[in-house]
């Protein structure tokens, strides 16, 4: 009913050595700067998980002097709590905090220990409040947080697209008992019901019936059993189905009904399975009744009964499908186990207004979702059950939907879901692994004055390679696997080892060169006829797009021949005149401005590959304006605006854009959106439907992808779309450049 407890999912942990050593490289990096703490400790009677949350201000980037706040969560078995507290004490140098927020059933038992070890005052917070706060937080800030579980599908997990409007929803927390909570707004929630038949019933009754003590073992028993030996089915009563009510013969008429009539022994497995069905069906039924009464369609399940266990996720899903005839889907959360700790932390950080920022999951520092496949090596599950981490970066701005999305709730940024497409997954994982050497080289080269750069780059290599290996086995670890998530993971890993912007020097050099050519390019464009000029402008944008050092095919060409430097490359492709932003985009912008069009130029907030950042673009545009009166006038009259996108990725998620950009788009009544480049227009947004005209343009710089799309390497995608209902021809061309 009301208790929320944690469990120990490791069957062999009671024999484990409790004096483990924590890997300081991974756990609580930058702990000395930690500002705040919170802890969520499971119930006292059982071995449970505790989760400590801490926030710190992270690395200082030499150039930008930028300071990022990051949230660290570490989940560990309660058996290790002393070790963890000691570790924190030893590394904690200068915190101003005097208080640690604590929640969970075990909080009061460890209160004294925590206060003694850390010298902090323990401040207890209501469990349910923390749970809901945490739930709101992950739903709002982590894309692909929620998923539908489908046992027999190709990919067990079907992640849900982020809907910025998360309320109202129902949270069914299955601890020892069940709490059903209706959440209507950030601070408005109500426990509308519950049930005493929950995880404790499964465990307690299961232990009595099967003499099996541990929760995990009971679940294992259940997954091997046949409930039909113990339950009385409709067909046991009717001999077949009860046709006129549509009750199929396999439906359970009476749980444990056969054990009342038959005088025989029942196997542990069968009884455990019957019990699991009984409890899951009952919870599912009640959840549906409450959802119906309160007219809610989003129902999330959590609590230790669920916590990543495939068996319970399957039975709950089945039950919800049955009782709602598929109208309501059971939803689960990737970070379900962290909710209490996140909530407690947020409670303590209220003065910092954490909710006014957007946050992003850091793929480098987070463990990801465990494989739940029963075939998975149990040791692997056990080990990762010991420590599990989640890190969240605070983004300096709030992220919102692009107001021009036709249907925000169905918008999916990514073009291919690699979780479902095994062939594509295979290819891209291979591709990123192949490219790793080059990335490491580039990283080292970007910091020639730092002696330990090579060492750090090597650590980066190991980390990213390990991530790729994990993703090969568990593609669902961080939500749907996509080219975007692979790119982002690489960026996060680079950041982790202080390579925040390996391309910064190249970009500078590239820009300086391009700036020299700018006036010449503009002049030659002006000499063309209107029609010729339009073609030339588009070619310019596309050609600039080719110069993307991240793309494998291009870097292969460029790096295979050390003499084949940038200058040469450019000269070879000279008729394409220009490099991405300066020689491609700017002349295009200039043309638009000249015909009286207002232009909002959006660029990344943070560095990613060699993409121009908003900061860099500001400087570049100033320099161009100094030599080009058209650009100058545009800036002066506010007809050319430079706005940051809020993204630090080579790809683009139109549902997570800087609030300011969204505001500008709305105020200026934008009627054409141009998305350029492979990352933003092909890997993402290829199928994005906008409510205004849109133009997606890119050069396919990957032969595998070109094959897939039915074209050749360096083919051009030029996709002009008009929303339904607006007159115009829809033309989509793909021609070799």
């Amino acid at each position: 009913m009301a208790e929320c407890s944690g469990i120990d999912s490791n069957p062999s942990s009671h024999t484990m050595d409790k004096s483990i050593t924590l890997p300081p490289d991974e756990i609580f990096r930058n702990l000395e700067n930690a500002k705040r703490f919170a802890i969520d400790i499971g119930t006292w009677e059982l071995k449970t998980f505790g989760i400590i949350a801490a926030s710190d201000k992270l690395y200082e980037i030499s150039v930008q002097e930028e300071v990022t706040a990051r949230l660290h969560f570490i989940k560990f078995e309660n058996a290790y709590i002393e070790t963890c507290l000691d570790f924190i004490k030893d590394h904690l140098v200068n915190t101003e905090t005097k208080v640690i927020k604590a929640t969970g059933g075990g909080a009061h038992k460890f209160k004294e220990l925590i206060e003694r070890k850390l010298g902090l005052k323990v401040d207890k917070e209501d469990e349910m409040t923390c749970l809901i706060k945490g739930c709101n937080f992950v739903l709002k800030n982590i894309p692909h947080e929620a998923f539908v579980y489908a046992k027999h599908a190709d990919s067990e997990f079907r992640f849900q697209t982020t809907n910025p409007d998360i309320f109202p929803y129902l949270l069914v927390n299955i601890g020892s008992g069940v709490s059903i909570v209706k959440v209507e707004a950030e601070d408005k929630f109500e426990r509308i019901g519950g049930s005493s038949i929950g995880g404790g019933t499964f465990w307690g009754l299961g232990a009595l019936l099967t003499k099996t003590k541990r929760f995990d073992e009971l679940l294992q028993l259940a997954s091997k059993g046949q409930h039909t030996n113990v339950d009385m089915l409709v067909k046991d009563i009717y001999g077949g189905s009860y046709g006129c009510l549509g009750l199929t013969g396999d439906l359970i008429a009476s749980s444990f009904g056969k054990s009342a009539t038959a005088d025989k022994e029942f196997s542990k497995e069968d009884m455990a399975k019957s019990l699991l069905h009984m409890i899951s069906n009952d919870i599912g039924q009640l959840a549906c009744l409450y959802a119906k009464l309160h007219n809610l369609s989003r129902v999330y399940f959590g609590g230790f009964f669920i916590r990543g266990h495939p068996v319970t996720m399957h039975t709950i899903t089945y039950s919800i499908n049955f009782f709602t005839k598929g109208e309501v889907q059971a939803l689960f959360l990737r970070h379900e186990g962290y909710l209490g700790a996140i909530g407690a932390f947020l409670k303590g950080a209220e003065e910092d207004n954490p909710n006014q920022y957007s946050w992003g999951e850091n793929y480098a520092g987070s463990s990801g979702l465990m494989s739940v496949s029963p075939d998975m090596n149990p040791m692997q599950r056990a080990r990762s059950g010991t420590f599990d981490m989640l890190e969240m970066d605070r983004l300096e701005r709030q992220l919102v939907n692009l107001p021009l999305l036709q249907d925000p709730s169905s918008y999916i940024p990514d073009t291919v879901d690699l979780t479902e497409d095994a062939l594509a997954r295979e290819y891209w994982l291979y591709c990123f692994e192949e490219a790793l050497d080059g990335v490491v080289k580039r990283a080292v080269a970007s910091q020639p004055d730092m002696l330990e750069a090579a060492l750090r780059a090597e650590k980066f290599r190991q980390k990213y390679r390990h991530k790729l290996q994990t993703l090969r086995h568990q593609p669902f670890a961080y939500g749907s696997l996509t080219v975007r998530s692979l790119l982002d993971t690489r960026e996060h890993c680079l950041n982790e080892f202080n390579f925040p912007d390996p391309y910064s020097k190249i970009k500078q050099r590239e820009n300086d060169v391009a700036l020299k050519y700018y006036q010449k390019a503009v002049k030659s464009l002006e000499e063309l006829s209107w029609e010729e000029r339009q073609f030339a402008l588009v070619r310019g944008v596309l050609a600039g797009n080719v110069f993307d050092w991240g793309a494998k095919a291009v870097s292969d060409v460029l790096e295979s021949d050390p003499e084949f430097g940038f200058e040469e490359a450019k000269r070879q492709l000279e008729d394409n005149s220009g490099v991405d932003i300066i020689l491609g985009v700017m002349p295009f912008v200039r043309e638009l401005l000249s015909r009286g069009t207002e232009v909002v130029l959006a660029s990344n907030s943070g560095p990613a590959l060699n993409d121009v950042t908003n900061g860099e673009l500001q400087i570049l545009t100033e320099r161009i304006a100094a030599m080009d009166p058209v650009i100058q006038a545009g800036l002066r009259d506010d007809r050319l605006m430079l706005v940051q996108s809020g993204s630090s990725s080579p790809c683009l998620d139109l549902s997570r854009l800087d609030k300011v950009l969204a505001m500008v788009v709305r105020e200026r009544q934008t009627d054409l959106v141009i998305i350029e480049g492979m990352g933003r227009a092909i890997h993402t947004n290829y199928y994005a439907m906008l409510s205004c005209e849109s133009l997606k343009m890119a050069v396919i710089k990957n032969s595998w992808l070109a094959d897939r799309l039915g074209g050749k390497l360096f083919s051009v995608v030029f996709k002009y779309e008009v929303p339904a209902g607006k007159p115009s021809q829809d033309c989509e061309t793909s021609t070799p450049s």
Partner: protein, 368 residues
């Protein structure tokens, strides 16, 4: 009902459930001398056998206290008898029917419940009897409405518990089911069906649950080694469920005020059994009691949600799970009253498990 019909005796209605077979038998008391003479020996022998015994074989039982005297049915006056036996003894029953040449009297027998379908061929091959199969929910509703309308003397058919939330003052009181619609009808047999009834011919099955009487008995058998419903109930009456269940106060030390949960409420059924020490310290009686409380409360809470969703305030509980089971009835009465803040009324009927069989009998006499 008053119109005479030409249906030949004997008059039976049968409900073959997952656990029990329920049989109602109309014994005519207005047999004329002429009729008596014409009556075949087989018929007499069946009547004598049924009315002179209260137990049949090892497991058949006639619920004498439920017998309805001087009932006028289809123009005939007589007594209505209520008989039950376990479904697994159906072969013995069929054998008896064969021995008594039952098939020579009748060509069809009205039967409802899942067993009417499952055992149809057995009736034919073993006893040469043709079953007239009837829908169990149709029969149930017909039976409830009929019995409630004909019982006028003796203990009231329908009753409720006054002061359900005060154990010392909680007493059974008669209730008049005039103008009964809409009502929620909860039939607790091996499993549970919940029906919303708007008129005699207008009803729907709202939902059901597999956690029913069969679950109570099944779990009790596994947990305590008992073998009958009566035994399980007897044990439950002696046990203490709070040793097995984890209560709100076990977790919060008292009420969980933030959510208005009283300390005595069960937070986790069997929750204390997660601990080895507590598993070793509970008695079989405690376990039986906890099983009863768990199943009963769960039915109560699903019922309450259905009542809210269907916007119905009166709930009638029937089914053989409630037979001699005052514990569960009082728990249901309490739960309905407490969690609905007095909005919902739990009603019970004396002939709790026999309505399906009565409905089948009525179908024989007045085909709908």
């Amino acid at each position: 009902v008053g119109v005479k019909c030409n249906i030949a005796f004997p008059w039976f209605g049968m409900d073959i459930g997952g656990t029990l077979v329920k049989l109602v038998y109309f014994e005519p008391k207005d047999i004329t001398a002429e009729e008596e003479q014409e009556e075949v020996e087989n018929l007499k022998s069946i009547r004598r056998y049924l009315t002179s015994n209260t137990a049949y074989g090892k497991t058949g039982i006639r619920d004498v206290h439920l017998q309805l005297q001087d009932l006028t049915l289809c123009g005939r006056t007589g007594n209505l008898h209520f008989i039950r036996f376990p479904t697994h003894d159906l072969p013995a029953f069929l054998q008896m029917g064969r021995n008594k040449h039952f098939s020579s009297l009748h060509t069809t027998l009205c039967a409802t419940g899942g067993g009417a379908y499952k055992f149809e061929s057995d009736f034919r091959t073993m006893a040469d009897l043709q079953l007239h199969k009837l829908d169990e929910l149709d029969c149930l509703i017909r039976g409830v409405l009929y019995i409630d309308s004909v019982v006028s003397s003796g203990p009231s058919e329908c009753y409720y518990f006054e002061n359900p939330t005060e154990p010392d003052r909680c007493v059974q009181k008669p209730y008049t089911l005039e103008n009964p619609y809409p009502l929620l009808l909860v039939n607790i047999g091996s499993g549970v069906s919940i029906l919303a009834v708007y008129s005699e011919n207008n009803y729907k099955r709202v939902t059901g649950t597999s956690l029913g009487g069969g679950t109570f008995l099944g779990l009790c058998c596994l947990l305590t080694g008992c073998s009958t419903f009566e035994e399980a109930l007897e044990m439950a009456s002696l046990g203490e469920s709070t040793r097995v269940d984890k209560l709100v106060r076990d977790i919060y030390g008292g009420d969980y005020e933030r959510f208005g949960l009283p300390g005595w409420a069960v937070a986790s059924s069997f929750g204390n059994m997660m601990s080895k020490e507590k598993r070793e310290s509970v008695s079989k009686e405690d376990l039986a009691r906890a099983t009863l409380v768990t199943i009963t409360n769960n039915i109560g809470s699903i019922t309450r949600m259905c009542a809210l969703n269907e916007n119905i305030e009166r709930v009638v509980f029937v089914g053989n799970f409630l037979r001699v089971n005052t514990l569960s009835m009082k728990l249901l009465a309490y739960a309905m009253d407490y969690w609905s803040k007095g909005q919902l009324k739990a009603l019970f009927l004396r002939h709790e498990g026999y309505f399906g069989a009565v409905g089948a009998l009525l179908e024989l006499l007045h085909p709908s």
